[in-house]
Symmetry: C2
Subunit: 258 residues, 2 copies
């Protein structure tokens, strides 16, 4: 038996999120991927374990998942071999054999997300599925000033959707900055983990800063206050893309000793 780590890219537009649902009428990325893997490996019981549960409409370029398979197909041939079993909006971009003790969720050391706004006098129909639209010109310098407050280890209770069950709302943010490229404004954020809707609430808060509705220095106070109602609105799902998940080489390739 081999444990294979897959890297998966998808356009989340047509899916009810990553996670497979009991109701098979609900089309999910994990559900479609699992169907394809079962066909490729001729194993109707095969399951995959994903690294991150993305919401409906959210995209990924670097989602990860593992499968345990008995197969003679070399890992590096899997991306090409699975292509004909997958819809065009889901792509396995990489596959590699990893240690049998590797876990895509527990071994994650950091993740990078991108949140994208289309900031122009008129909507761009080519961006409608991949950006939130903002007509008022955003002040990117102000947004970058506000973004600094997220850096470091904080209790991010104010940036967690209600009803999420987590043991702790403390997370560490390693990088958070805003880039402008033409009419596209991108927030890039890297952390050791993210609470439910955290990146979208962070994006909604920086949006308020960029529009002048919130002072950059108010962001630190919102974090300290731990009150969800003080933070910005949850930004729309289509602007969000899971870019990359990072692991330690040791966890990936060396089996843990008991």
């Amino acid at each position: 038996m081999k444990r294979i780590l897959l890297t998966i890219a998808y356009d989340g537009t047509n899916y009810s999120g990553w996670q497979k649902q009991k109701d098979e009428a609900v089309i999910t990325v994990e559900g479609e991927l699992t169907k394809a893997l079962r066909l490729l490996f001729r194993n109707p019981a095969l399951e995959c374990v994903g690294a991150s549960r993305t919401d409906a409409g959210v995209h990924a370029l670097g989602q990860r998942a593992v499968i345990d398979v008995e197969t003679s197909i070399p890992a590096e041939k899997i991306p090409l071999a699975i292509r004909s079993f997958l819809p065009a909006d889901i792509v396995v971009t990489k596959a590699e054999e990893v240690a049998e003790t590797f876990h895509p969720r527990f071994d994650c050391v950091k993740k990078t997300y991108e949140y994208r706004f289309w900031n122009a006098p008129a909507k761009n129909p080519k961006e409608r599925l991949y950006s939130a639209y903002v007509q008022k010109p955003l002040d990117v310098e102000r947004m970058n000033e506000g973004a600094k407050a997220f850096l470091g280890t904080h209790d991010f209770a104010a940036f967690c959707a209600a009803g999420a069950q987590v043991s702790t709302t403390v997370r560490t943010i390693f990088d958070c900055h805003v880039e402008k490229q033409g009419e596209s404004v991108r927030i890039l954020v890297t952390g050791d983990g993210f609470l439910y809707n955290m990146v979208r609430i962070l994006a909604g808060t920086l949006l308020a800063v960029g529009m002048g509705r919130l002072e950059p220095k108010a962001v630190a106070a919102i974090i300290a206050g731990k009150d969800r109602r003080a933070a910005g609105q949850t930004a729309e799902p289509q602007g969000l893309t899971l870019l990359e998940i990072f692991y330690d080489e040791k966890d990936l390739y060396e089996a843990a000793k008991n």
Copy 2:
């Protein structure tokens, strides 16, 4: 009666091109726009005259069309007023009153198109509807060298799809260059007019140059030879976007004298 010039952006993915067809079951951008304009202006006979006929799957950010209407709606309010009558993938981004003698096709002085490739080891599902995918790394410097051959006035018979009926295949190209932005490679081309499929054949030819299958200096010889078979393949429609159409201020705002 006022003549109104509309600027239209659309995601061409779900349309059989711009031009309205006799068969109403064929969904086109012009067809959907005309339906929306008829509802907005309560005129079931209203027709619009477009500037450029884009093919199925081709996008536009700066398509133009004119309508003649009796209306009390100020031109600048039309983009917002029409929004609820249009699908999300068609946006009227601007509307302005122009001279009654203005014609969006005959008065065009130049047009800019973009052709986009996604050039990376793996496909990007978010780009699949907006770029042609190329796995092999493209040599953008070579492509720019080849692109120079298109500049100026030439007989572009080698860059015209068979069956096109035109009085002359001579066109003037004012600018043609290639830009790389991350894994996206864009060809930008501006000319006084383009033959049927000309930009897609030009893109397919520069693709062959970028992949090393064609010498940059061969492009001038292909143009001079006027043989369609010597040029590159017609690149896929989804990579193409009509960016902008340019007019003279005089034609736009001063009625021509007979």
